[in-house]
Symmetry: C2
DNA sequence: GTCTATACTGTGATAGAC
DNA sequence: GTCTATCACAGTATAGAC
């Protein structure tokens, strides 16, 4: 692995674990076995390192949103969303845990904007506050679950496939028209 | 409002908005119209200020967990949980967004521990991975929704009461035995 | 491509005057 | 209770030798 790629991986892992602000270039350099200056040779600034770490996941996310807006295919969106969560655990963790505090960073701006577009899309398909909140709980909950599974390891190791199927099921249920169970006796 | 209380309120708001690490004592002092030193007269350190900001919400959370463990009353727990979310929006926002990066801070340690106790409680009542994930999505999603509603204001101002009822409904549905809709035609 | 040395800024915190 | 002055330190970033 090139120094470039290795630094990106280290940065992503440390930014996700300890937080962007709390992670110094010094620490990243130490883990890589380099000096601070060498790190800054590969990436011209700390923020450039953050950009590089997040970018692939961000682009996947943005293209997912575009496909949803173009096709309105909800089932495909849900599958793509869950797959994105599973594939980019660390980046999701960062987004969930630090998007708020990094709102002035370009790459997080774009991620936030994409999230807003999803919210706007679902808001435009319904006028019920109840359904809008179901969307929020579903997508936020799935992302949050992935983010925290990465933190606490108390689950008896559910397999990736099992996780994937369960998440798709739960999100699909929440995004479907309300079953109105109580009013059909 | 006393300086003491005012500083606590400012700190909570800034920590939640910009993040703990990214908020300097200087900034808090400026907002309060004081000097850094005066801030440090009221709270002996930055972390002491964080403790004071979070403590009331944390105690409410811990007592909620204790009541759940003692009574196993799920409905009461869900109501209490949602009410806690609505009452302590800023603190929830902080917990969701920064618990990971502040794990070495005492007050967040306790909050994390309480969250783990909830997860352990629900894990002990079922052996199905599917149900465990439903718990995670429900509680995480509700907390995440509250945290992000505070960020983006794109919702057409859902009332507190409406929000409360919707959240309780959604969480209750997710924590109920799976309806198995597809296998009962 | 990697290093040492350095500049500069901002941080949390302390001491002591008022 | 609030201030100014000062501290020691860590932060990002740059310059230049090798």
């Amino acid at each position: 692995m090139s120094s470039h790629e290795e630094l990106r991986a280290i940065a992503l892992s440390e930014f996700a674990r300890a937080g962007y602000a709390a992670t110094s270039l010094q620490r990243i350099a130490e883990i890589a076995g380099l000096s601070k200056s060498s790190v800054l040779y590969h990436y011209s600034s700390k923020e450039a390192l953050l950009d590089a770490a997040i970018m692939p996941a961000l682009e996947g996310f943005e293209s997912l949103v575009e496909r949803l807006e173009a096709s309105s295919d909800r089932a495909a969106f849900i599958e793509g969303f869950v797959d994105l969560l599973l594939e980019h655990t660390l980046e999701v963790h960062m987004f969930v845990n630090q998007a708020a505090s990094l709102e002035d960073v370009l790459v997080f701006d774009r991620a936030n904007a994409a999230a807003v577009r999803i919210a706007a899309y679902f808001a435009s398909t319904t006028h019920s506050a109840m359904e809008r909140m179901r969307f929020g709980v579903a997508l936020g909950g799935a992302a949050y679950l992935m983010a925290s599974q990465h933190q606490y390891q108390l689950e008896p190791a559910t397999s990736i496939d099992e996780t994937r199927v369960a998440l798709i099921t739960i999100v699909t249920e929440l995004l479907s028209p309300v079953p109105v169970r109580s009013t059909t006796p």
